[in-house]
Subunit: 205 residues, 2 copies
Amino acid sequence: MDLPKSIQDLVESFEMLPGIGPKTAQRLAFYVLRLPLDDVKRFSESVNSIKENTKICKECFNVAEDELCSVCANPSRGRQTICVVESPLDVIALEKSGYKGVYHVLHGFINPIAGVGPDEIFIPQLFNRLSLLGEAGVQVSEIILATSTSMEGESTSMYINRELVKNYGDSIKVSRIGKGLPMGADIEFADERTLSDAIQGRTTI
Amino acid sequence: MDLPKSIQDLVESFEMLPGIGPKTAQRLAFYVLRLPLDDVKRFSESVNSIKENTKICKECFNVAEDELCSVCANPSRGRQTICVVESPLDVIALEKSGYKGVYHVLHGFINPIAGVGPDEIFIPQLFNRLSLLGEAGVQVSEIILATSTSMEGESTSMYINRELVKNYGDSIKVSRIGKGLPMGADIEFADERTLSDAIQGRTTI
């Protein structure tokens, strides 16, 4: 049986999304078909307006509704600490940790195999931001490199660290987020790399 | 951090869908944000038009583009055999089996706990269809009950069978889809119910 074209169109749209295969796409499309018309209209409208109504924060390149994202627009956030992350989703996650500084969103990581160099993500904008802040007399005291601990995340952090040392020497402290065992983990099942990070990153009690 | 409203709206729309939790909804919304504008427009349009452009087949209640679904509109399908299924997705799956008859889509199953009785799904329409076919001189020879083998699917089949016997006696053969081991299954890991079905449904070679 050929699916009616309007259903097939929605199946194909769902299939574009990550982690959604042909079967799930079909199931979702039929689910949408049975939703109340109001919900369907709202869904369509929210897909339609997401690109138009979302801006990029001019300070930190996080997603925003206005010129500044809600973090940068908050006067109580410490501007002396900048936490460098790969994506806006990382900002959402880190906000739950109680971090009180500001962010810089790279929108990706250095990945030479995929042809993504330092200039393809928002690394030049980080240095530009630092020099503008310097001109404005704001002294950034620490940059926390909070890219993921994958190989690409590590090399992105290493690259930024090297460039920061080259340009700012000791005047800006550069740190990497702590590595070790996640909460609730069994030492028995942890991989050797995590354990070696945990030993190195041990703290005195 | 509060998400920008346009992103939050889409996250909430995705969260309505089955099997999509808050984290996945966020990830999907951010993925849509990065899609090319054309793809986003097409996605929005396909959501918007799915309800408007989809009809229900007046014969079998399958989804359709016109008055009749593509199965009922096909003159080469055998109208003497009607396969009763729970949903249009089951039609898609059964079409791959090479079945050459027509269908009747119930759009659900009898589920007293959820308040779904025989009249809430398209069971009265099945009997109406049979009597209209009888008036038109078409003799239905077999009804295959292909509801799922869950408890609800079984009781839906049992109910329809009882009503068919009450109304048509022996004049219509009623069958239930074959039950047993699925292809590639290990007998060792099969549950006792499946094994008992497989023994009862054994065929001579």
